[in-house]
Structures are given as structure tokens and as C-alpha cells.
Amino acid sequence: MKITQHSSANTLTLSLDGELDASSSVLLDSELAKPETLQFEKVLINCRNLNYISSAGLGVFISHLQQFQDAGVKLVFFNMQDKVHNVFEILGLDALMTIVPSETEATAL
């Protein structure tokens, strides 16, 4: 799992590369738990190279979800592979989280 981050004025983009499993979700968690993350208006998650997400990986997003909402930070996923989208959908997360097809739409939100 590789996490690359890129930030502009009010947007933080995290690109996830590889499999988000129990061990790599710790990395992601520490990334999202940073206080400065909540300073942004939007946190975009680029899922183009995210091949797999385990329940631990989902747990990381779920655990930060409430915090992001309270702080008024928008969490947006884009470029999600069908396989991964299916996992979000089954769990019902597609109704809670913003998942859009591409970066253009993500930035436009």
C-alpha cells in the first residue's frame, strides 16, 4: 500500500495505491488522523489504484466519517474500481459517502 498526498489551497488529495488491508489501514488511519487534515474543506480520495479494501480499511473511513462531518470537511472518493465500489455499495456506504466517477467531478463539488 502506498499513499501519496497532494494538497492545494483547500483540498487534500490522497492517492491510494495497492491493497488496503489490516496492516496498511494503520497507515491510512494515521494519515487521516492528522489534525491538519480537518483544516481542509475537502479531502479527496483517489481510488484509481486501490485494488482491494478489507473491512479494516472500511473501518478507517467509517471511524473518521463522523469527525469529518462535524468539522464540515467533505470526504469524496473518485476513480473507484467497480470491485471496490461494490464493497462500498454492499455495506451501504455509497449512501453515506460521496463517490463520484472522476476527479473533475470531485473538485467541482
Binding site: 471511524s63 455495506l91 451501504g92
Partner: protein
């Protein structure tokens, strides 16, 4: 009896006989009464032959006796030699003195007495030489290579052939006799070089060996001087003892004793070192044995400390032990706390505490001079492994240049041995602890196993088959059944995120929640409201879990309530895998596509908005496949997932079979798909097949 045995048996009588013959033949030459009685002088060859025969039989007899060296008891061997045959020298001197005294008291010209005593002494000397020779043989051949053993046999053969010369009364022409003698003498000197045994003596034994070798040399000197003296006695009747054999044997025995003496003597100063090395090896052995006995850490350190102090002969020493937070002094020897503190501080200032440090001249290093300690040398030996530091060993000596390279290397060995012991002990403790945890997990696994329903509900309206497997000892998957009044059956299936013991706790919790919520509500107005509908159940379960589920954990579940009186069912899906269904009327397999959020994701009242009920009227022959994600996410060697599509196809192929057979076919296909791959997640699979009404049942 073989020839060898027979020869052995006659050797002793033969030696006695030949000695008697020698005596008689000597006496026949004395011109006294005995000579008259014996019939005048016998020919010289008889005396010579008797002499040669006697020497040969004594040597061969001695050769065949049991090995005089017992184990490594070199000193015992020499002591027996000195106290046994060596004493013959005293007897020889005694007899000689008696003869001289008698000669003085009764001056006669009779040579009988002198001849008898001479012959007796000659016998003694030969016995002594034979004994000495074969004792030396044991020493020469001690741990000798086969080459040396062969060379020794040659030496014996050559010495024996000189006896033969004597027997034939033939002496090689002049320079050759010296050449042959010289050659044999050099051969003897060469063999005397084999003195390995000296290395095996302790200091004390070396001293004893030196004294005993001097005693043997003295005995030999006594004999030799007797024979040299008697040679010039005008009354001597025996042929001049110009016997090459005896000469060579004396030379060899004497030279070997002398070489041994010198080697032992030169080895004396190093004996202490040898003993020290021996002590080091023993300490190391003791230290090693402690590992196997599995004693406590404290004992290992004590052992290290004692062995180290003893081995390097330190004048003061201490050991400090470290753990994560503190450093403490565990052992000390002739040193005051303030001294150790001062040394620590000084080393810390120079950052030398945790490295191997040897200072053999403390008095000239300014830091130590200021401490005003009486010591001249210091070694600091850290106890550490690749992973962590355990402490340090400090050794002090009063003298400068007190420690050498060997001290340092033996301390290194001690330190690494100790660290090894400690790590072994720790590993053993860890493995014991692991074993305990394993045991507890086994119990947890058994407890969890008891939570899985063993008896599947049986009714004429449907047919259920189940399968569950955990990836670890305890799992996060669960399913349960509950019969409700009015011919209804509740089926719960679910999966707790994460694995292991935490997940197992939540499984137990879910089961408790299921049984608690599925209780009849006596206040309900209608019959149907007595039990919560699945969506209501999920909302209540979510509420119950909200407070106890950790933040990143969630649970997926599906609850089905089958009403087989009315041929329908209602279910809600809380983020759990979609239900696969075979519709017998439409002859079609499909997934129920319903929305529904997992439990524990939203922990407030809004959750209820995210969960829906789905009603369906089933027909006989319909098949419902309920499973957890461990089934569809099982991977093959190419890391592809089994997937909903494959499961779909499997049901299309098998829907007409019994629930049990459908389940088996799916599992077989799954096993083939993921062959050789480890199981990543728990797997649960339930197959429900609705049947047509049995005759006589309500419908």
C-alpha cells in the same frame, strides 16, 4: 593355542632358564670350585647365546604385557616404574656393596661371588631397561599417528637385530658398526621427540613427572656406573658387555627420559596458562549447562560474574543490568558504590559505556587518574544482542597491563554465551506464554463453537444446510436460528469486521442481542407486531451496539423471518452480502438488490432511515443462498476473487438438488478455485430450499 599364545606362555620360563644358563656358563669360567663342578670353562658362545636369549625373552615378555599406561595417568605410570623396576638399582648397589664388604673381610681370589652378583645385576638391568623401554613406548605412542607406530616397530626390529649380531658373535667391519649404532641412536632421538603427553599434565603433575624422571635417570646412572666400574675389575670373567643392544636401549631409555624431563621442565612456566585455559573452558561449560537447565536470569548473571572474575582473576568487578527504564547494579566484587558511580560517570562523559572498552593503563589516562582509584587496568564488556542491550560487565585489576587479548576474547565469549542464555530463557518464557494463550484460544474456540447452532431447524416446508469455517481459532462470522410462534423461523447471519478475539466477543454479543430482541412483546396490539420486523430489529441492534463497538468496527448482518404458514418471508440487509435466490416459477437465479447500511456505521437515530424490509412470497422449489464475504472474497493463485458471478453460476447449475447437495457442490467448486491458497477470512454458507407442502400439513 596359537603360536603367539604358546610363545607368550613359555617366555617367562624361557627368560628364567636363559638367565640360569647365563649364570652357570659364567660360573664355569670362574676357575673356582663351581667351575670344576660344572666341568670347566664352557665355550664362549654359550654365554653369549644365553645373554642374547635372556635379553630377547625379557624384552619380548615385557612387550606382550598389558599396556602400562592407564588412561591419562602418566604420573602413575612413571611412579610404578620408579617404585618397581627402578628400585632394582638400589638392590644392585646393595649387592655390590655386600660383595665388596665380603671381599674386604675375606680376601680371596675366588671369583664365584663376583660372578653371581654380576649376573644377578645384569638380569636386573635388563628387566629395568625392558620395563623403562615399554613404558616409554606407551608415552611415545600416546595419541600418535599410525606412522609413528610403524616407526616404533621398525626401531624394535632394528634393536632386535643388534641382539642377533651379538648372538652370532659378528661385529660389522669398522666404520659400519659405528654407522649402524649412530643411525639407531639418531632414530632413538627422533622417537624421543614424541612428547605429546606432557601437554596433558597439570602444573602439580608436571612437577611430579620431573622428579620421577630424575629418579629414573638416577637408577639408570647407578646401573651404568656399576657396569662401567665392574668392566675394569680384573676378576670379571664375563665377556666384555660390549653389547650393542644394551647400549642402544640404555641410550634410548636415557635419552627419552632426559627429553621428557626437559620438555616437562620447559613446560612448567606455561602450566599455569594451560590450567587457566582449562578453567576457562570449564567455566564456559558450566555457563552453557545453565541454558539447558533453564534457570532464572538472575542465576545466569551470577554465574557469568563468578566465572568472569575467576577466569580473568580480577581484583574488582561489577555488573550493571539495564531494562527499558533503568540501570541497576546486579553484582559487585570488592568495589564500593561510589567507585562504580565515578567510573560510570566518567565513561558516560566519554560515551564509552555501551561499547567494548579496554584500558590497560588507567594511571596515565587523565580522567581515571583524577578518580584516584587504586586500579591499573579496566575492561568494560557490554552484554548485548542484535536487538537490545542487557547491561555491561566491568572488570578491574590493580596492575597495569593486567588484561590481554585472551582475557578480552574469553570475556566476549562469556558475554555472548550469557546473552544467548538470557535470550533462550526469554524465548522459553514467551513460548510458555504463547502456549497458555493457545490453550485459552482453544477454550474460546470451543465456547464459540458451542454458540453455533448444532441442530438445524427441521420442518416439512423447507430444507436447510449450513457450513462454517474460521480462518483463525475464533472467528467473526455468525449465524443463528430461532423458531417464532405461528410457524415462523428467524435466520440471522452476519460478520463482525476484524478477526480474532475482539471479533469473537462481538459475535457473542450479537447472539445475545438476537435472542433478547426476538422476544415476544406482550403489549403488542396485533399478532404480527409481537416480534420486531427485521428493519426494526436492525435499528435496535445498531442502538445496542453503538455504545460498545469500537470506533472503527462495524457488523454486517441479514435477518430473515420466514413465515411458512403463509409461504412468504421478510428480510433486512444491514450491509451484509446480497442474498442469492432461485425463483422456481421464473426459473431464474438472481440477487436481491436491496439497500441497507451496516451496523455500527451510524450510531444515532438516523440509522433507521438506511435500512429497509423486503417482502417476498416464495414458491416450492425456490432456493435461497445466504453467505458471508469469506465465500465471495476467497482468492485463487492469481489473486482473483471467487465473486458473486461464480456463485450465481453455481446455483444455476445446482438449484434442482437438495440443500445439502447444493451446499456441497458450491463448496467443492470453491475449494477447487482457491486450491493451495490460505484461508483469509471466515466462511459461512447457508442454503435454504423451500419444498412443496407435505400431505396433511396446513395450507
Amino acid at each position: 593355542m596359537s603360536f603367539r599364545h604358546r610363545l607368550k606362555a613359555i617366555l617367562f620360563p624361557l627368560s628364567l632358564f636363559s638367565w640360569l644358563l647365563l649364570l652357570l656358563s659364567t660360573l664355569s669360567n670362574t676357575q673356582g670350585k663351581a667351575a670344576d663342578w660344572l666341568g670347566g670353562p664352557w665355550p664362549t658362545w654359550v654365554t653369549l647365546a644365553a645373554q642374547a636369549l635372556f635379553a630377547a625373552s625379557v624384552f619380548v615378555y615385557q612387550r606382550g604385557r598389558t599396556e602400562p599406561l592407564v588412561g591419562n595417568d602418566f604420573v602413575g605410570l612413571m611412579r610404578r616404574l620408579v617404585l618397581g623396576p627402578g628400585m632394582l638399582a638400589t638392590v644392585c648397589v646393595g649387592l655390590h656393596l655386600v660383595e665388596r664388604a665380603l671381599q674386604y673381610q675375606l680376601p680371596t681370589n675366588d671369583r664365584t661371588l663376583l660372578a653371581v652378583i654380576y649376573t644377578i645385576n645384569l638380569g636386573f638391568f635388563v628387566v629395568f631397561l625392558a620395563n623403562t623401554n615399554y613404558s616409554w613406548r606407551s608415552l611415545v605412542l600416546f595419541r600418535a599417528r599410525p606412522r609413528i607406530q610403524r616407526e616404533w616397530v621398525w626401531f624394535e626390529v632394528l634393536l632386535g637385530s643388534t641382539l642377533l649380531f651379538r648372538l652370532l658373535d659378528w661385529v660389522p667391519p669398522h666404520p659400519f658398526d659405528y654407522l649402524i649404532l649412530g643411525f639407531l641412536a639418531i632414530f632413538g632421538v627422533y622417537l624421543s621427540g614424541n612428547q605429546q603427553w606432557v601437554a596433558y599434565l597439570s602444573r602439580r603433575q608436571k612437577w611430579e613427572a620431573v622428579l620421577l624422571q630424575i629418579a629414573i635417570l638416577l637408577s639408570m646412572a647407578v646401573f651404568v656406573s656399576y657396569f662401567l666400574r665392574i668392566e675394569h675389575d680384573p676378576k670379571l670373567v664375563a665377556p666384555a658387555p660390549q653389547q650393542a643392544f644394551l647400549l642402544l636401549t640404555v641410550f634410548f631409555a636415557g635419552f627419552y627420559a632426559l627429553m621428557g624431563l626437559l620438555v616437562t621442565l620447559f613446560n612448567l612456566p606455561t602450566a599455569g596458562i594451560f590450567e587457566q585455559k582449562r578453567e576457562e573452558i570449564l567455566s564456559l561449560q558450566r555457563l552453557t549447562q545453565l541454558i539447558q537447565r533453564g534457570q532464572s536470569e538472575e542465576e545466569v548473571y551470577t554465574m557469568l560474574f563468578d566465572s568472569a572474575v575467576q577466569t580473568v582473576d580480577a581484583d574488582a568487578a561489577w555488573i550493571t543490568l539495564e531494562d527499558e527504564s533503568s540501570t541497576r547494579q546486579a553484582q559487585h566484587y570488592r568495589v564500593l558504590p561510589e567507585q562504580t558511580a565515578a567510573v560510570h560517570q566518567l565513561l558516560q562523559e566519554h560515551n564509552l559505556q555501551h561499547i567494548e572498552y579496554l584500558n590497560n593503563d588507567l594511571k596515565s589516562s587523565s580522567g581515571f587518574r583524577d578518580l584516584n582509584l587504586p586500579y591499573g587496568s579496566l575492561i568494560v564488556m557490554p552484554l548485548r544482542s542484535a536487538k537490545r542491550r542487557y547491561g555491561s560487565l566491568y572488570m578491574l585489576k590493580l596492575a597495569r597491563q593486567g588484561f590481554d587479548r585472551e582475557n578480552l576474547s574469553i570475556l566476549q565469549t562469556f558475554a555472548s554465551q550469557t546473552v544467548l542464555s538470557i535470550e533462550n530463557l526469554n524465548l522459553m518464557n514467551v513460548s510458555l506464554e504463547n502456549q497458555r494463550v493457545q490453550e485459552e484460544l482453544k477454550i474460546a474456540s470451543a465456547v464459540q463453537d458451542s454458540l453455533i447452532p448444532k441442530n438445524l431447524p427441521i420442518d416439512s416446508w423447507f430444507d436447510i444446510s449450513s457450513y462454517a469455517a474460521s480462518a483463525k481459532e475464533v472467528g467473526g462470522d455468525f449465524y443463528d436460528f430461532l423458531h417464532l410462534p405461528g410457524r415462523r423461523l428467524a435466520i440471522l447471519i452476519g460478520d463482525v469486521s476484524g478477526k480474532g478475539v475482539t471479533a469473537a466477543f462481538h459475535v457473542a454479543q450479537m447472539k445475545g442481542i438476537f435472542h433478547a430482541l426476538m422476544q415476544e412483546n406482550p403489549l403488542a396490539k396485533s399478532e404480527r407486531d409481537k416480534f420486531p420486523v427485521p428493519s426494526r430489529f436492525m435499528a435496535q441492534a445498531n442502538h445496542a451496539l453503538a455504545r460498545c463497538l469500537e470506533k472503527s468496527a462495524f457488523i454486517t448482518a441479514s435477518l430473515y423471518i420466514i413465515d411458512y404458514e403463509n409461504g412468504g418471508f421478510v428480510f433486512a440487509r444491514a450491509g451484509h452480502c446480497h442474498t442469492l435466490y432461485y425463483h422456481s416459477i421464473k426459473e431464474e437465479v438472481s440477487y436481491f438488490q436491496t439497500a441497507g447500511l451496516g451496523l455500527g456505521i451510524i450510531r444515532n437515530e438516523t440509522y433507521e432511515k438506511h435500512i429497509k424490509n423486503q417482502f417476498y412470497d416464495y414458491n416450492p422449489g425456490d432456493v435461497m443462498v445466504i453467505y458471508t464475504d469469506g465465500i465471495v472474497e476467497a482468492r485463487n493463485a492469481a489473486q482473483e476473487e471467487y465473486g458473486e458471478e461464480r456463485l450465481h453460476q453455481m446455483l444455476e447449475k445446482t438449484y434442482y438438488l437438495d440443500a445439502d447437495e447444493i451446499k456441497e457442490q458450491i463448496l467443492t467448486d470453491l475449494a477447487q478455485f482457491s486450491f493451495g491458497q490460505p484461508m483469509h477470512d471466515d466462511q459461512t454458507l447457508l442454503v435454504v430450499k423451500f419444498k412443496s407442502a407435505q400431505p396433511g400439513s396446513a395450507n
